[in-house]
Symmetry: none
DNA sequence: GGCTAAGCGAGACGGTACGTCCTGTCTTTAC
DNA sequence: GTAAAGACAGGACGTACCGTCTCGCTTAGCC
């Protein structure tokens, strides 16, 4: 796979900018993030940032995409769909329920709000795979009789339930997430 | 009932500010909202805004709270909990699924992200009553055997499922919302 | 002699305002003097200041006029005009040459610059009597043959020489002032 | 001769700012001069002003220094010191005695009052050369027997006498200035 | 191996908005 | 009926950043 980035672009500068952005996002939050401080922190001219990223949200999205601690969890397939998805949701809840995870989720949400294109790219990387893997595990469960649309709604209810708790500052626990999974799957006809 | 707002505050200015904020939120979006323009539009000095609202998100929150087109829907009680909540969710989906509703929801979410206190107030006015009324309708359903915690998770899955669809730019339809309600309620033991 | 000030005016407030103005003039200087701080320091409403003084320079002028440490020195008449005016100028130099005196002189000058009417009133109280008393002592000296205009120019050269030294941050000493007096009086025909 | 100003500074902006300042000084006076209006008039960002001038008086001083109609007069040396200095003082009186000259002198004085550093720079450019050239002409006069200190006092009396008349809103005429010069020089031993 | 053009750091520029301070007017309440 | 208190519309302050623009320097990529 070839790199489509223009030649002559300084890899050093690119990485420094993305890392500075992540550091400053964490330190000051999305609202107080300035291009000027990113440039200073990265030891880079402002123009170098403007040369490669059209808008601030685009840079934020790239920076978040550049993080390597946000690899999506994959549900196992042990044959027991309820157990598998409960564990998967539990792991996710633990991650999103932590202070750091919640802050990141809120930031992602706000960044997505700023620009539809950003929203699309973040979805492609984060919520998309999340939905997709859960949907696939669900589809692999023979005992569940449901239309694809119903399975989609079920996945969205599970993920949305967790996201909603984080965004509204409610507690999100491993047990709560597992319980939600049990309710939804039972609703799809699984025996719990 | 006495007014607990500080005495001598100009009601004229207060209302003009909130209305200008709503107009400009609609016209330019949250990102391009400036206090200066609000003041100019409202025919008010900037200081009058800063005197009464500590931060921009606080003003945005108040402005959104001041809107009278966001009255929460109340689920009826016809005896059939599935039908009642499906209708309720359908109405909600219609409201949140519209362009205007979706934009407002994203704005509310972003504003809530900026400051925890704002988040609390918006929750108190919007998501809180939403959750509460759904929870109460659910609790009134004798045929459902579930713990209070399970009912809470169910409500969050339903609302969260809708909110999540809006935030991730998926279609949110009346039918989809009703389907989610059916899945979740069946998961709580309702006969659907 | 009756007081021409309007009846019912609060003497307490009037004095508090003038004294607060002098204190703040001394502490922050003319440039950083604000009506608001004067009102707060004097324990007075702003309106009370605006009711009785039309402009800030007018208040400053009144405040300076209210000071009792600026009584003009009177030259004695011992029969020796050179000695008398030298001593008088020496005393004046000592007063204007001190840090406090120089600061006050600069403030008076700047205040006079702001408004012609203020200038007139300050002149009437400060530089006027200064010129007048010196002029009279000079006129009383029989040995000096000079036209009234020449005497005026002489007085202005003496006072102006001192003021100029202060305004241009040169040293102003008792001896220097006396020397200037000797030069000017000899120029008028006095034997020195 | 190299330019010691920082490199890359825009000469266009610098000149536009100084000229706008002079225009607005003339139109509104020192008291009503705002940085904001200077920036707007000069077609410049406010920051560009604040980048190069620390305070408003510093800018005013530079603007006044930038004027080319304030070149100091040089006294001629025809051999007759009284005539030379009388003419010189007469020219100065005409300049300072005009409405425009008096306004400028008052402005200079007020600006100098605001900040000692400003005072120093204005002195260096205006009163310094004035004093210096007069002092030199005086020193070149062989018929005058006087110490250097006496000559300094004499010069200050002449200049101070004129400045004082302007500041205290007295008439300053060509004839009056010449008369003052005659008095002072006779006081130094010149034959008049 | 030398030439040359792009990319780079630096940072000044014309601007916009910030949040603060103060102006001079006004209204309310207390004495 | 004057005073203290303080909210109000307005406007300037000095700061922080925006996104654009030059300036020299460095360096990669082609002759």
């Amino acid at each position: 796979m070839t790199d489509s980035r223009p030649r002559r672009r300084s890899e050093r500068a690119r990485v420094a900018i993305l890392e500075a952005t992540n550091v400053l996002l964490h330190d000051h939050g999305l609202e107080n993030l300035s291009i000027e401080e990113i440039a200073a922190t990265a030891g880079v001219g402002k123009q170098t940032i403007y040369r490669w990223w059209p808008t601030r949200p685009a840079l934020v999205a790239d920076a978040l995409l550049h993080r390597d601690d946000l690899a999506p969890l994959l549900p196992k397939d042990t044959g027991d769909v309820v157990k598998d998805l409960s564990r998967w949701a539990g792991g996710l809840a633990e991650s999103l329920g932590s202070d750091r995870g919640a802050a990141t989720l809120r930031m992602l949400t706000a960044a997505a709000t700023e620009h539809p294109e950003i929203s699309r790219r973040l979805h492609e990387r984060f919520s998309g795979p999340l939905q997709e893997t859960a949907y696939e595990r669900l589809s692999a469960a023979k005992e569940i009789k449901a239309t694809p649309a119903q399975r989609r709604h079920a996945v969205d209810a599970i993920i949305g339930g967790m996201v909603y708790k984080v965004l509204s500052h409610q507690k999100l626990t491993r047990a709560g997430a597992a319980e939600t999974v049990r309710i939804v799957l039972r609703g799809l006809g699984a025996s719990v």
